[in-house]
């Protein structure tokens, strides 16, 4: 037993006495995908013609070490399937019949199957290969693409040892191509082999384990795909048949090195992150001679785009990239390369009038995707290994820059929270001072009640802190909805029998506003709990918070005994209410209305855009 599933030994093909394929030697292993890449006229099609006997051929074709004659039927019986550029199907028969002709290849019992049974087998097969055409459709009614898909499915469903594909990507859509590629990969995973003959070297690069380069009827080189993935220029040179010793690369190298130095300089200077990214984008574009460069920042938690910097060498270059699609792409690879020749290239753009090539390099912070550097070319650009190394260096630099900025951001946050703590402590001392003064003035005050009040107010300030600490992004924005729920939670137990009804929308305010609003809500709810239900078993407190026109509206009402007649908040000597009044009118530049409406009803309106006069 040979270890090779299929071998071409000194295989030659002649067309009109002219040798179109010479000394073709290729050994295909089990579970291997070999791509034969060549330009038009390099002799690709003669391989097939020679194998099936359409053109006279010499040499040996071995299947598992056994020689085969050059004949289509012999190949098929030996589990070798060939799919040509234009699939061979019987036009006048249905899909089912076409397919079954082959599926039943080795099943002589075909004629005993019922139509219902065959249909079921076919539908199962279609389902397995994601093909969606009614099985009874006549082949002649199909589009070329559908025919090709049918041919692929027919070939792979036979589970042959070797599938030979000739220019499979022609005339089919991206979806079909992807489907085909997944068929090929599945085939490989089952230990079977594929020969993929194409002039689309990009496809070859994506799918093949090894790439054989066919040039003027001869295999000039067989490269492993890993070898060329990082340097496709090498592959192209080989395909075209030139072996350039690129002298111009010296100049380019210097420029790249200069550019890296420059980038390091940026990083150690005190630029803002945004400026830094703009500079990096410009620098990268210049160094790689790209027409545009874009650096996208990705949120590590949610993998969504946060921000991007873009540099275009010329303002007239028209394109808008589609980051969502580019993001989907990012997998394990270091580099992603696409050109307009690739199927589905346009999906990376929301608008594209100029771009022909796109290179993406992702970058990581602590092994989590943090961003992508994309460079764009107006022409079919071929990247070199140096360029990729450079892009990767820039990617690392960028990751560092972002990391740095985050650290700086943290220290700003730390300072900020220090300030908040001090201010909160001052607020608490202020409260105590006010109570102290109030006790001095009127000795009939209930000291226990005051201390409870104080405790409750301290808790409401801390409620805001809790919410702040929970924000993972370190923002100082508070959702009043969450805050009010928090406050109500610790007040609900202070008096039994009272039900809270909350009608809260998501209303966002800055931290400082939130903590003052917390005090206001706390005071008003405390008042209700303390005075509204004296002598009653049960009651209800309703808190509403929502946007109303340009304002934030907070309404707190109860169904208790209400305010005494002729109550005026300005003349009230209640300390709590005077604090509330001052905060709402002076600090928040809002209005407060206090009235009776089957109980106490307090409406506070705060301008939303300018929640404080002082901002």
């Amino acid at each position: 037993m040979s270890e090779y599933i299929l071998e071409f030994l000194n295989f030659s093909v002649k067309d009109q006495d002219y040798e179109v394929l010479t000394n073709f030697n290729l050994k295909l292993q089990k579970g291997e995908i070999i791509s034969i890449v060549g330009q038009d006229g390099s002799g690709k099609n003669s391989i097939i013609y020679g194998m099936i006997g359409d053109l006279p051929a010499e040499g040996l074709l071995l299947h598992k070490g056994h020689p085969l004659s050059f004949d289509l039927f012999e190949l098929k019986t030996n589990k070798i399937e060939i799919i040509n550029q234009k699939p061979k199907l019987i036009e006048n028969m249905s899909i089912a019949e076409n397919l079954f002709l082959d599926i039943s290849f080795n099943k002589e019992s075909y004629f005993f199957y019922s139509k219902r049974k065959t249909n079921k087998i076919i539908l199962d097969t279609f389902k397995k290969y994601h093909l969606n055409i009614p099985p009874n459709t006549k082949v002649k009614e199909l589009t070329l693409e559908e025919k090709k898909n049918l041919a692929f499915v027919r070939a792979f469903s036979l589970n042959p040892d070797v599938v030979i594909l000739y220019e499979p990507s022609e005339n089919i859509s991206l979806t079909s191509l992807r489907n085909l590629h997944s068929m090929i990969k599945r085939h490989k995973s089952e230990g079977k082999s594929v020969i993929y003959i194409t002039k689309q070297w990009e496809d070859a690069l994506r799918i093949a384990d090894r790439i054989a380069i066919l040039n003027e009827g001869e295999i000039t080189e067989i490269l492993s795909s890993d070898e060329v993935k990082n340097n496709p220029k090498k592959l192209i040179d080989k395909i075209i048949g030139v072996n350039l010793n690129d002298n111009s690369s010296d100049f380019n190298d210097n420029q790249l090195i200069d550019s890296v130095f420059e980038a390091v300089e940026y990083l150690t200077s005190e630029y803002e992150l945004n400026d830094l990214l703009n500079l990096l984008a410009e620098n990268t574009a210049k160094a790689t001679r790209a027409d545009a460069c874009e650096i996208s920042l990705i949120d590590e938690e949610t993998s969504t785009l946060i921000d991007k910097s873009i540099y275009k060498s010329n303002k007239s270059i028209e394109f808008i990239s589609n980051e969502a699609e580019i993001l989907k792409l990012i997998d394990e690879e270091r580099v992603y390369y696409f050109t307009k020749r690739d199927k589905g290239f346009e999906r990376f753009f929301r608008l594209n009038n100029d771009i022909c090539s796109l290179i993406c390099v992702p970058f990581y912070i602590r092994s989590r995707l943090s961003g992508i550097i994309q460079i764009y070319y107006k022409d079919y650009h071929l990247y070199t290994e140096e360029e990729i190394k450079y892009l990767e260096t820039i990617a690392h630099q960028t990751a560092l820059a972002i990391h740095n900025t985050k650290l700086i951001g943290n220290s700003v946050l730390l300072r900020e929270s220090h300030h908040r703590i001090k201010n909160n402590l001052q607020s608490i001392i202020s409260l105590i001072s006010l109570y102290k003064t109030s006790i001095k003035k009127g000795s009939q005050k209930d000291i226990i009640g005051m201390l409870d009040d104080l405790i409750s107010k301290i808790k409401s300030i801390s409620a805001v802190h809790d919410l702040l600490a929970k924000d993972k992004l370190g923002r100082s924005i508070i959702n009043l909805k969450d805050m009010i729920i928090h406050i109500v939670q610790f007040m609900i137990n202070t008096r039994k029998g009272i039900e809270f009804k909350l009608e809260l929308d998501d209303v966002f305010v800055s931290y400082s506003k939130a903590s003052t609003i917390a005090l206001v809500v706390n005071e008003l709810v405390t008042n209700s709990l303390k005075y509204a239900f004296i002598g009653r078993e049960s009651g209800e407190i309703i808190i509403v918070c929502r946007y109303h026109h340009e304002s934030i509206l907070i309404e707190i009402s109860d169904n208790g005994i209400g305010f005494p007649e002729h109550f005026d908040i300005n003349e009230s000597n209640g300390l709590g209410l005077s604090i509330v009044h001052s905060i709402v009118t002076k600090q928040l530049a809002g209005n407060i209305i206090i009235k009776n409406n089957n109980g106490a009803n307090i409406i506070i309106e705060i301008p939303a855009k300018q929640v404080s006069i002082n901002e």
Partner: protein, 195 residues
Amino acid sequence: MKNLKVVVAEDEILILMGLKSNLESLGCIVIGEATNGKELIDIVLEKKPDLIIADINLPILDGLEALDIINQKMNIPSLIVSGYDDEELIQRASEIGVLGYLIKPIDESDLKAAIEIAISKFEEINKLKKELEETKDALESRKIIEKAKGIVMERLQLKEDDAMKFLQKKSRNSNKKLVDVAKDIIEADKAFRLD
């Protein structure tokens, strides 16, 4: 500290109310409350208090900026209140002429001590300033008199002692200050000089 007229600036109303209560309990009279830097300037210029207490973190204009502007227009002692003891801020405050730097949280006793020190420092500074002014004036007069004496010596061909006696006599006779007599002589000398 009794009846000291104070203007307080603080953007958080609750803290402002607390400070006011502390100050009143110390016997001060709070004659103005500001919640931003601009308001602070307006109130101070209008009410001319004996003392300003301002938070450093004020909107529109921060406390230090506002005090800087005020200090250029009038001489009022001031205290700054801040959440943190930042070297740079303290430096700035002292350059502006702030007399005390209070770090939150503060209570009545902190305020009392700071106000006492600020007021006494302020008085001391004022005293020194006055003395300095007087010394400067004296020095200036001496210079003028010396110059006039020189003119007299030259014109009347007198010795230094006699020239001085001449000036003193003229001062007594005309019932003018010696320095004014000297100024007259310098003026007259200018008028009669041909060159």
